[in-house]
Symmetry: D2
Subunit: 342 residues, 4 copies
């Protein structure tokens, strides 16, 4: 078979390992051929392809980013988008099937294209770990590790100077990165989108920590909302271009804490460092296995399926059933972490 | 309740995080008191205890080793061992229940003591990830990460000098560390106890890699056996002074490869670096959750139980049912990795 | 002798290693006693001391922060400040001499106190490496390493998405961290306070990189100024609530680049992660040696002196001669790096 | 000009950064052309060349190993060696001058070839930091960092189990890696080739540490010799197959300590992990600057010169004057470290 691969959406450590896993398995076991589709769906819509053989994937398991490039293009938009045009592109290249590596939007698009008769298999990609169909997604472990290292570093400064440190991590809609890095880093409060808190509650935790003679460390997801302060959010959130402002919540909270508690407070926004660079060993193994399993799904002609992690096994599930709901942090996981607060 | 905690057997990153999780949950939620039992079962047998309060566990989630010390003492041996003597020690201290953190041997002892009426809950600890009752055990992720970093480093030297690098990792009876670090590091062969191979097969992989213009990287578990060379193994253990040789299998294989293929070959034995030092974020989260769950098991009076990871959840299982079989690398996981060999 | 030690000003990896080096050398070689002065000059002014013996410095060489705490208090201010009051505090504790670890301000204060008869020796501390009297100061190497790791990570995202990444590092008045991390990370432009540039020049570099098919990576010191845009800088400091904006120059430049070149651009502000956490091996060695040499200076009764690195040697120099001028990046070092721009 | 570059001898982090620095400076400033000489002097003798343009050095500053390959070939040996044959190879390729990156042997060869009229400039390379002509050589800082991380990890196991850990680091003739990593890691004894010690002295340090309730950590250079035990050393080199034993001194000392002190002792040999993989930021900066300065030396037609670090400056010195003496650890640096022993 001739298989096209594309990577879509934001960066995520492990994308290259997925590509390598798929290519090595396909070439060695099934004598497949591969074509790289550049810059996500855009390359498919525009017919922008690149050679992708066994040599191209050499040494890729540890390399961050994606050699295929990425974009946020929607394959149904634009003059050249849509299933018919895409099928023409595939036919012109002799591509039999596509492996689409991407998040919720990409998987939804993959489902629609499958419904239109295009042969696609998905690999879930979300740094935020917010896809319900998989226990963990590659990139998440690396992001948590990077955030934890930053928390470790910021803690020593907090303690030397008697300061409160507010560390903003990724997580627009779900709090998994904050939950795990906060637990790993020994945070005194973890603020996540699923659990709005009042500034009063936060200050109570902060003062409790200070009263025990320690320096408060707070980890906050970028998507956390202060309870009862929708007003503050509505202002803070927009920049001159009417887009959500970078930084945001951490920089909003830190001065509030300082003002109310008198404890010098500083915000640090970890930003893109969480999603670039070499993947952790965990993510390399997971991504490699997912890439290899995508070939199994193609062999089994399970179009519209995606690969996922369940326990220690890689399974093939239906995109339709697997997506649709955001995997939020459940109450019991938050309660478990909250035992360590304050 | 007054709870004693002990750590037994070899070092493992995350031991301190288990202790911290248990103490913080017990103190904060159930008003429990804690006593540290020094140096594993030896402290229990000898009555060697230490204070263990909330302050003692400060900052422990990221700290390697165990503040309680460890040993390989068997609680049933010696003049002061056995359930009756141990119960006296516990009574003298007013200890109601014990959390025993250790491997197969510790869990088996915990079961026997439970059968004798002592109230114990176990937390599984194995750097090798060889306990069947848990998807993963804390410390394993850190060991894989350290081994993977070493493989990454050794690879550049291999390629600059056209050498074959043989990297010996931990794994006396099972090959999990080799399997995961080898996949993560892009090894060209992974040699594990579960899958004996002939030196001819290994050399075939090595030559195949060389013929593709690359430098072979081989990861081998310390417990790997060369098929058809039991003789070599029986000799390998002795040096010129008739003492057991350190290193072992890696140093046995490397010169054999060099002799048969003509490719300059070097062995590196990672040794104890794999089991010391700060745990990865993954292991900190897992260990903290296990420690907290051990308190739940005590609250539920599930004596003779242990905590374990199933998928993303921490469960409480019976030690009796959970132990007994070594969790070896199954054939399908080896086959999956073998696609990447050569 | 009885020696007091204080750490003053911002956090810097290696402070604890200086303390450990001084205490171990003093205790072991000269039978000195030590007293910790809490929170910089404030502890001296307020008489806030802590025990500091050999046991207190155990394991400190690798620990970030300072066990003594720090502050920005000026010893000449306040009701209890000034040489006379300080001398009283020292007499009350029986302290013979002080080791003051701090930056330009601390060293200037140490000089004034020396002039007033107080026995002080200084250890230079500046994460920015801006003190002329020493080749390098501890903490700088760690900061450069952390910034370089961040650049490595951000680069993969830049390349996968065809973006321009602007990374803001520390350096209020001098560009050493930007210069070294930018060279190490392969930046396409390094923007430092010593070398104002126009936005047009920056965009020229950016476009040149893009035209070669690569993703531009720009490292900028927090103190960099855009040539001909003083207006922008004076405004940049205020947000919608009229508070000083965090981030600053990186977040100012990135949208300018995007607007002028059409290349999607993102800013990341590394912030406090650069000055917390475990020191690099280089900084541990340097800090330990400086701490030990401070004891030599005290033994030699060289009051008003400080220890410094010259080549591979630690020397004792006069604070008066050593300070006063900021050590800026010289033109030839900037020109050397600029060969790699664009 | 057309410039050939070769890398010779053992692996060393920063080789690629030297190549990149030289090529970028030569191409951009002087319009030089470059040719890669494969596998050290062997490529020159055999006429094995590779393209080396600006594109080839992309992203190399952080990459371990050498894209040119390396070997230990002596250019004066073999049928095709010697100045006349080499000059023919250079003429055939139109190469005007050579940059030779290597250790003592390479620099000596470069001098002899210079004397024979071949135009060569040297860049000193020694992971052991044993070249007198330069304050530090690239790769050394990375090796020290890796060794220090390993010591940090091994220490926690030592303390949890009350063991003595013996860590063998590189350093065949000089003890710089042991000295710096031992100081950084807080070792209780540092054993280097320049300072033979008796096993009795070592055991005295070990027992002193144990008596203070701590776990002894000993760092030993591979070239260290036990005073009064030449016999042991002469035997240690051979295993049961009469081949040189790997490991060596660490594995010799650990059981001796255990036998004499009763303290369980373990040896770990760090081996090749110290010289592979990504260079530290310090080494990237140093290596890049040395590579660029080599172009300056060529422009100045200073044949037979080499580039070196003096303080913070890169200087051009004569190979003849710069080499010849091993840079050993001086007595005062050893005494300084020894204050921290025991």
């Amino acid at each position: 078979m001739k298989i096209g691969i594309l990577t879509s959406g934001g960066d995520c450590p492990g994308l290259n390992a997925v590509i390598r896993g798929a290519v090595l398995k396909g070439v060695r076991i099934h004598d497949d051929e591969f074509v790289g589709i550049r810059n996500g769906w855009r390359g498919l819509v525009d017919g922008d392809f690149m050679a992708l053989d066994r040599h191209s994937v050499r040494g890729l398991s540890k390399q961050g980013g994606t050699i295929l490039g990425s974009s946020r293009t929607n394959p149904f938009e634009g003059e050249h988008g849509g299933p018919e045009n895409i099928q023409k592109r595939l036919d012109a290249q002799g591509i039999d099937a596509i492996i689409a590596i991407g998040g919720e939007g990409t998987l939804a698009a993959a489902q629609r294209l499958t419904d239109a008769g295009i042969k696609i298999v998905g690999v879930p990609k979300t740094i935020d770990n917010d896809l319900a169909a998989t226990d963990y997604s590659f990139g998440f472990d690396t992001a948590v590790e990077i955030a934890t290292e930053a928390i470790d570093r910021l803690r020593t400064t907090a303690e030397s100077h008697g300061r409160c440190m507010v560390i903003e991590v990724m997580g627009r809609h779900v709090g998994w990165i904050a939950l795990h890095s906060g637990m790993a880093g020994g945070a005194h409060a973890i603020l996540i989108p699923e659990q709005p808190q009042t500034i009063e509650q936060i200050c109570e935790w902060v003062e409790h920590v200070r009263d025990r003679g320690r320096a408060p460390v707070i980890v906050v997801s970028e998507g956390f909302l202060l309870a009862g302060m929708e007003e503050a959010h509505s202002h803070k959130g927009l920049d001159a271009f009417n887009r959500p402002r970078l930084g945001g919540i951490g920089e909003l909270i830190a001065p509030m804490i300082e003002e109310r508690t008198g404890i010098e407070s500083r915000a640090t926004v970890l930003g893109h460092t969480q999603r670039g660079g070499a993947p952790s060993a965990y993510d390399r193994v997971l991504a490699t296995r997912l890439g290899m399993a995508a070939i199994d799904a193609i062999q089994a002609e399970q179009w519209g399926s995606m690969v996922s992690l369940k326990g220690t096994e890689i399974e093939i599930v239906s995109i339709k059933e697997a997506t649709g709901g955001l995997k939020t942090v459940p109450q019991d996981r938050y309660d478990e972490a909250a035992v360590l607060f304050g």
